[in-house]
């Protein structure tokens, strides 16, 4: 079975640009969460989506947005990129019956110059 997949693996952008990151959950998982991991820190919660609706949002500015599609894949959008947005962006999926167990994708490494 395929695990959580994310694309692209690496991305280089300049300040002020916008970026879209993509995530496909494990088959059968309907919940997707996004995390930002800055170098040297643990992942920070950005969003959680379930059945195409936002369930929760972390302490991130409105430049960050996300959505979930009918096939449960998800996109994370970041507008007006700042140098501080450089990080590893992780997506995790979980199933309805086991919300505690989140399985992570390989992440997208975003570098903002």
């Amino acid at each position: 079975d395929a695990g959580v997949t994310q694309s692209p693996t690496h991305l280089i952008k300049t300040r002020g640009q916008h970026v879209t990151l993509r995530c496909s959950p494990i088959s059968g998982h309907k919940s997707v969460s996004w995390y930002q991991q800055v170098l040297g820190q643990g992942p920070q919660f950005i969003f959680q989506y379930y059945e195409k609706e936002e369930r929760g949002r972390g302490n991130f500015p409105d430049r960050f947005s996300a959505r979930q599609f009918p096939n449960y894949s998800s996109e994370l959008n970041v507008n007006a990129l700042l140098l501080g947005d450089s990080a590893l962006y992780l997506c995790a999926s979980s199933s309805l019956g086991r919300p505690n167990e989140q399985f992570f994708g390989p992440g997208t490494r975003l570098t903002v110059l």
Partner: protein
């Protein structure tokens, strides 16, 4: 605000040593505590702990939770160079109520473990 603190932040040992990693937490509506190992990119799941005093064990790794004192430890015995990684502790807190509730993960900053041959 939910909070997870790990210690030490970094640890350097030699193969064969035993290490203990610590995780303390403050969380609203605690559901579970998770340990992950992160080498290159994605954190990989190690343990989920929900009950106090019950040790979870997988090979040379073991973990236990104390819900009264709000902490957990991860032990690694007979360390190997392949154990070198960042070890992350995360706590799941239930947010919201009813059908719209969800489990939110709050991570600690991680412990960087380096095992020398």
């Amino acid at each position: 605000e939910d909070k997870v603190v790990q210690s030490p932040l970094s640890l350097v040992v030699h193969e064969g040593d035993t290490v203990t990693l610590n995780c303390s937490y403050e969380v609203t509506n605690f559901r579970s505590l998770l340990w992950y190992k992160q080498e290159k990119k994605a954190p990989t799941f190690l343990f989920m702990l929900t009950s106090s005093g019950i040790e979870k064990k997988s090979g040379r790794l073991s973990s236990i939770l104390d819900k009264k004192e709000l902490f957990s430890i991860l032990n690694i015995t007979a360390t190997q160079t392949g154990d070198s990684a960042i070890y992350l502790c995360a706590v799941v807190g239930l947010v919201g109520a009813g059908g719209t509730s969800y489990g939110k993960l709050t991570f600690g900053q991680g412990t960087i473990l380096t095992v020398h041959p």
